[in-house]
């Protein structure tokens, strides 16, 4: 592990900042300085820092206040408090608030060196811990299924309950809602976990190919069958078969699968001897199968066979309170994958994400965050990083007066109408003259 760190010195005395800076630069660290707590917070918003040295006594925002804010907003950032002789009480308070250590000025060179060694050791432990935690989570949790909404909580409760049964499960949800992840979670919690989990997208395969993929064939069964091949129903042996987009399969295939489900036997194409198979079926669809039954494209008997347990996965627009949690998850994931340290989203940007309808659901949200992280030049994603979604930022509520809200709303409408006052007045439901008066009163001007 590289021991070089991104360090910020926060002290109102220039001489102390310079002293630290020169010393740490000689250690090969990247050093930045801030003359006040406010400046430090501004820099933290833009760039990631591993370590902050904070003077306890500073005008404006003191070291304790800064420490509290840092520990709330950036809990991974290590803070060392610098105190003068006689402010031990504050130092103790700082330690209680999460500072890792304190140094009393002037300190012996060895003391700082010892503190740095301690920090490097701590960093190594934290990074090892988060690596192992990640590994463990991958093994034990419902892999990547994020949600705290009542709808998702209900699904999380259901997964272990249905996992051990042998009944067929039908997952219903729009594209991108995470149907395959839930199927994997069910498999992972079931006694079949040590056998294969085989996902097949029925919509992606033509009927003849799907038949060969599922049932396998003997050598010479059809043109091109130069080798005997095991089908997935055979390969899955003891595991879970996940058939996505089940609504796409033909009626003939429905009959064939229905027979397999009832008899637990398959016959390879071109073969005459049936063989026993053992698997658990989880199907998924984004279509309304009942409508397909009415239209005669889906067999009712097959529907009831695959639909012993039905799990409905709500679209993201119906569980918008999960968005911040998902955003946090994707930020962590893509910051790690792209090695860019982007870990914050402004309130306005979050408003945009929460007001967007997400037709592509969680998958689309993940892609949007990945794109924003890749293109971002700051550690905080803002409104401009999500302009590609085409959502007008809603004015933040709770922080502005009614007058300010009115001003913001009028400006948004004017911009949407290309500053055509007559059109904007019509949208706003007010008289054109009144709108002109408001534009003058609020001193609204068209951006060049």
């Amino acid at each position: 592990m590289d021991d070089r760190m991104q360090i910020m010195i926060v002290d109102d005395e220039m001489i102390i900042r310079e002293s630290f800076q020169h010393w740490f630069e000689k250690g090969g660290h990247m050093v930045d300085t801030a003359a006040s707590g406010f400046e430090a917070l501004e820099k933290l918003e833009k760039y990631p820092f591993d370590l902050l040295f904070v003077d306890i006594k500073m005008p404006g925002m003191d070291g304790i206040e800064l420490l509290e804010k840092v520990k709330t907003e950036y809990p991974d950032t290590i803070v060392i408090i610098i105190t003068a002789y006689g402010s031990i009480e504050s130092a103790v308070k700082a330690m209680k608030l999460g500072a890792m250590d304190y140094l009393m000025k002037p300190f012996k060179p060895d003391q700082l060196n010892l503190t740095m060694e301690k920090i490097i050791q701590q960093k190594k432990l934290v990074s090892e811990f988060s690596y192992l935690k990640g590994r463990l989570e991958k093994i034990t949790r419902f892999d990547n299924i994020i949600g705290q909404s009542p709808e998702m909580e209900a699904i999380f409760t259901l997964i272990p309950q249905v996992a051990d049964s042998e009944s067929s499960i039908l997952l219903i949800g729009e594209t991108g809602t995470g149907k395959e992840l839930i199927a994997k979670a069910i498999h992972a919690k079931s006694k079949r976990v040590h056998f294969p989990f085989i996902p097949i997208n029925c919509g992606a395969l033509p009927d003849s190919l799907l038949e060969s993929e599922l049932f396998g064939h003997r050598k010479g069964a059809f043109t091109g069958a130069t080798q005997a091949r095991k089908g997935f129903l055979e390969v899955v042996g003891g595991g879970t078969l996940f058939l996505d987009e089940i609504g796409e399969i033909s009626r003939k295939m429905q009959v064939d699968l229905l027979r397999v489900l009832e008899e637990k036997k398959i016959t390879r194409i071109g073969d005459s001897l049936p063989m026993d198979v053992d698997f658990r079926l989880i199907s998924a669809t984004s279509k309304n199968l009942e409508e397909q039954i009415d239209a005669g494209t889906f067999r009712e008997d097959f529907y009831y066979r695959i639909n012993v347990i039905k799990i409905h996965i709500p679209p993201l627009r119906q569980r918008k309170n999960d968005i911040p949690l998902l955003v946090e998850h994707f930020l962590e994931k893509y910051s790690h994958e792209t090695t860019k340290h982007v870990d914050h989203v402004t309130r306005d940007a979050m408003n945009i994400l929460e007001s967007y309808e997400w037709p592509g659901n969680v998958r689309e949200l993940g892609n949007a965050i990945e794109r924003a992280v890749v293109l971002s030049e700051s550690r905080t994603l803002g409104v401009k990083d999500f302009t590609f979604l085409g959502v007008t930022p809603a004015p933040t509520t709770g922080v502005r007066s009614l007058r300010e809200m009115e001003k913001v709303h009028i400006r948004i409408m004017l911009e949407e109408c290309g500053w055509n006052v007559t059109k904007a007045a019509k949208v706003l439901g007010i008289n054109r003259v009144t709108l002109h008066k408001k534009i003058n009163r609020f001193q609204l001007k068209r951006k060049p």
């Binding site: 002293s19 000689k26 610098i82 002037p106 012996k108």
Partner: protein, 183 residues
């Protein structure tokens, strides 16, 4: 062998015995393979004296020296008998800026043993030479090294100073050779 445009000057600041100056110059020649010579004393910058701490501010001295001209020398090692400090530290044995022209060495704290007794002269000279060579490393942009025995390993106390060697580790040695300008 690379050669600098001028030798390294070893200058006493205030009253400094001659022997440690000669020892430092000899170590620069012997261990770094660079020409070094003892030069005329430099006047102690009195404004750098801190009356509260009874020490000289190394930062202020370096800033003062940067305004002085020694065109015939590539770098200057200024040796003090007085105690030096930088604002965050109680004291420093030496000080230099990365890529700077001046290195400071203080002999003030080099004569003690961990038990409080006086160190033998040979040991004091070796410590002074280590501090000087370490600071010269910084003048050629070498950062502190993780190798406990490397000359560029940070040493804040006499015990750790005695533990490092007079040589760079192989990485620092390569960096040092790369940093030397061609004459």
């Amino acid at each position: 062998m690379k050669r600098l445009s001028g030798p390294i000057g070893v200058a006493p600041v205030g009253e400094v015995p001659e022997t440690p100056l000669k020892v430092i110059a000899a170590h620069i020649s012997g261990y770094l393979n660079l020409n070094a010579e003892v030069i005329a004393p430099i006047e102690t910058p009195s404004h750098a004296f801190d009356k509260n701490r009874f020490q000289y501010d190394a930062g202020k001295i370096l800033s003062h020296f940067e305004s002085m001209r020694f065109p015939e020398f590539e770098k200057i090692v200024a040796v003090f008998s007085d105690d030096l400090f930088i604002p965050i530290f109680s004291h420093v044995f030496g000080e230099a800026r990365l890529g700077g022209r001046y290195a400071l060495v203080s002999l003030f704290r080099l004569n003690k043993q961990p038990d409080g007794s006086v160190s033998p002269q040979a040991m004091i000279y070796e410590r002074a030479a280590k501090v000087a060579l370490h600071e010269i490393g910084h003048l050629f942009r070498l950062a502190h090294c993780d190798d406990n025995h490397c000359l560029m390993h940070f040493t804040g106390g006499l015990q750790s100073l005695d533990e490092i060697s007079l040589y760079f580790c192989r990485y620092c040695s390569t960096y040092f050779q790369d940093a030397l300008p061609l004459a």
